[in-house]
Symmetry: C2
Subunit: 138 residues, 2 copies
């Protein structure tokens, strides 16, 4: 985690209490938090931090590639701190729970040139949908 802070400093980030706190929250639990959940946890450590700052900081972390934005439903975006290990997501259609998964195979290779329409394809996201054991038993 101080790795993360180091990397950020190296990229010319001005280091502030707020940014440190957001980075700590993301690093603390490897779950998929919404921006407002991040904000709630950040407030616990630094009561005067504002919502706008959390949004700004998350946006910066995303464009630096340190954090992944996950938009599995039409509710709030979620943030995945696990950006350095490529993976996909498995989402419960009922309760919205998200798990990281690592399928075998490479879907990028499965898209023939004839299906690329001249696009420069750089990335694939795979989202599996199903029902988690908890919801299934309910």
């Amino acid at each position: 985690m101080s790795d993360l802070l180091e990397r950020l400093r190296g990229r010319g980030w001005r280091m502030t209490a707020q940014r440190r706190v957001v980075a700590e929250v993301l690093d603390g639990e490897h779950v998929h938090l919404t921006a407002d959940e991040v904000h709630a946890r950040a407030v616990a450590k630094l009561p005067e931090i504002s919502r706008a700052t959390v949004y700004n900081t998350l946006g910066e972390l995303v464009s630096l590639g340190e954090v992944l934005e996950v938009a599995t439903d039409k509710r709030a975006k979620r943030y995945d701190p696990n950006a350095h290990r490529p993976h996909h997501h498995l989402v419960c259609a009922h309760c919205g729970a998200i798990k990281d998964v690592h399928p075998s195979g490479n879907p990028l290779a499965d898209l023939p040139d004839s299906e690329r329409f001249g696009f420069t394809v750089s990335d694939v996201e795979v989202t599996y949908r199903g029902v988690c054991p908890n919801c299934a038993s309910a």
Copy 2:
């Protein structure tokens, strides 16, 4: 398309002018419209149709499996009338254009049991991201 209307009637749908118009709009152009774009086109054919009705009708079509909801970015959901031919999407990261694509291979088979966490997995969505020829040349 009257196929579609037939199918809906068969499922106990009360047929109204509004629903017919929404179905016609979706069937008319095989592009990926937002709810508000559907509404705009519907208003052209039936001026007094309301936004709420379009949302309701789209939601019903989705749960009947006649239309697919596509959420490629955090802007508006898009609706894909091409629900009966399984396919995935290729999205331009720059202008948001969406193409239907048909990768080889079956990503569902690529998710080993050990990565399913007890979920009953029923569906996969694959979203390829890249830059379209138009945006690349700009």
